[in-house]
């Protein structure tokens, strides 16, 4: 019988979230931390994000994805963290027992005292957005195309149409063009781009690549290989307008139509998921509702700044250490609710207000001249002005330690919820 490992902490996933969490857990006092990664190397999605724009908050430098990852990989190699590469977790039980497999070790079993979920997310597929037509070769998600071009050394196609103007789609437009392919255009179903303006300018405008807003792909042509797509204008209800249909010849359709936190293992462990974020409910320590199971990074909700992923990972790593070393028990948690023009907030619960807490949230619709506020009951305990807020750009607000208690002490009724809201400054 093979020995069962019993580390203090098992971190599942070694992207920026897992790397940050493992290091933080070690710094916070955990001696035996295991980092489990199914890929051939550390870094998660970062090694394939070869463009820059990472780290302006954490390192005050503008780094490429691989450079950002290398910082953490270097630290992990110096720290006393056991790394298991090529190791796929097959099962996570509610009692935290992990079953995994790798070519080198065969079947591996662990009974960690704490678990940190850092599995990231996967991409939405063509079928989930229900694009009609044939099912030929040549329909690929933007992240998979990015892996092909930047890591595997393969070009998915020569004449590309991109559906979806999120950052991955925009970045891949530039990548395809620079590597000698042609991109006929980027089609976006909404009436505004899904990604950062910086990317619209530097990935599309710089290359005269057209962006067609309020458009979608209504049919994929080609039996064996993509031969073209039909695109159409959409109405206010996002329904295609048949008369506007236009045929675009191409051999590749790249889809950038959304990311889904990858919570299959979380479900197996009985971790309760928030239907709005598609990730686990977490509290201010990034602990899920399953005791001893923490979560950070994109598995909780899709972040856009890797710097925030790192921050959430550090909270989770510290939380796991605190749980293992001090047996931290949660007090009756208070619900954090999205208020006006806020689609969701993470964390969704708070048990302990004695430390600073970062709340990450997204707005429902773009709005100018607003104030983002955190309310304890009815009292604002934090307030920040923004010239402009947009759904693709995640916001962060900080609630200082004891601010909540202060609100309670102000003589009002006992506070039973925290609200994050965005209010207009325009009268």
């Amino acid at each position: 019988m093979k020995a069962i490992r019993r580390p203090d902490c098992a971190v599942i996933g070694a992207g920026p979230a897992g790397l940050g969490a493992a290091l933080a857990a070690g710094r916070a006092g955990l001696k035996d931390v295991v980092l489990i990664e199914r890929d051939i190397e550390l870094g998660g999605i970062l090694p394939q994000c070869i463009h820059d724009g990472f780290g302006s908050i954490v390192f005050k430098e503008v780094l490429t994805g691989p450079q950002y990852a290398q910082r953490y990989i270097d630290e992990v190699e110096k720290a006393d963290i056991e790394v298991m590469l090529n190791t796929m977790v097959l099962d996570l039980a509610p009692d935290r027992k992990i079953t995994a497999v790798s070519p080198e070790q065969g079947m591996v079993e662990l009974e960690p005292r704490s678990v940190i979920l850092a599995m990231g997310c996967r991409e939405r597929s063509r079928h989930q957005v229900m694009i009609p037509g044939y099912r030929p070769a040549g329909v690929i998600t933007a992240g998979a195309a990015q892996r092909d071009i930047n890591i595997e050394g393969l070009m998915p196609g020569r004449n590309v149409v991109i559906l979806g103007s999120g950052d991955i789609g925009l970045v891949m437009a530039r990548r395809f063009i620079l590597e000698g392919a042609s991109v006929e255009g980027v089609y976006e179903i909404m009436d505004h781009p899904g990604g950062l303006t910086r990317n619209v300018v530097q990935c599309l405008q710089d290359f005269d690549c057209p962006l067609h807003l309020s458009h979608t792909v209504t049919f994929i042509h080609g039996r064996r290989r993509v031969e073209g797509v039909t695109v159409a204008h959409v109405d206010e209800d996002l329904r295609p307008i048949k008369e506007s249909e236009r045929y675009v010849p191409c051999d590749t359709l790249v889809l950038s139509v959304g990311l889904i936190p990858e919570n299959e293992l979380s479900r197996k462990a009985g971790v309760v998921l928030d239907p709005v974020t598609a990730g686990p409910f977490v509290d201010e320590r990034m602990e899920t509702m399953a005791e001893g199971i923490f979560a950070c990074g994109n598995v909780v909700n899709v972040f856009d700044l890797v710097d925030y992923v790192t921050r959430s990972a550090e909270v989770a790593g510290e939380g796991a250490a605190e749980y293992v070393l001090q047996g931290r028990k949660r007090e009756a948690p208070i619900r954090v609710v999205p208020g006006r023009n806020v689609k969701y907030v993470v964390p969704q619960f708070v048990s302990d207000f004695s430390r600073d807490i970062d709340f990450y949230f997204r707005v429902e619709h773009p709005e100018r001249a607003v104030t983002a506020r955190i309310l304890a009951g009815a009292d604002a305990v934090s307030s920040k002005k923004h010239k402009m807020v947009r759904p693709p750009e995640m916001l962060k607000s900080n609630m200082k330690a004891a601010a909540f208690d202060g609100a309670e002490r102000a003589g009002g009724p006992k506070v039973d919820r925290v609200t994050v809201e965005v209010v207009s400054r325009e009268t």
Binding site: I50, G153, E179, K387
Partner: protein, 127 residues
Amino acid sequence: MKREHSYTCINCPLSCSLELVEEDGEVVEVRGNDCKTGAKYAVQEFTDPRRVVTTTVTVRGGALPLLPVRSTATIPKERVKDAVAQLAGIVVDAPVSNGQLITSDILGTGVDVISSRDLPRKADGED
């Protein structure tokens, strides 16, 4: 002769639509900006638009077939495509260390191109 140029500001989520008016190459005015940074951005984009170059180069004997590289500073925007094409012809030998110089003074811009990561040699016994 007065001419107008349009830019979208990238500095904050407002994404102001900027109009820059120039006469014979001299900037006359900038409109549409909500703040001073936006005005500066428009001027920069007109007089000297520059970009960071990121791409990959081929690797021999490495754990992966490609190495991500980046320019150490921005280069003129209109030279980016040529820079990438030139880098496409470069082959480096593994192992490569993070920050290793790949090409100096790319296209005579005075800007170097360095490796974005460590890349070890391919492990023995792999195909």
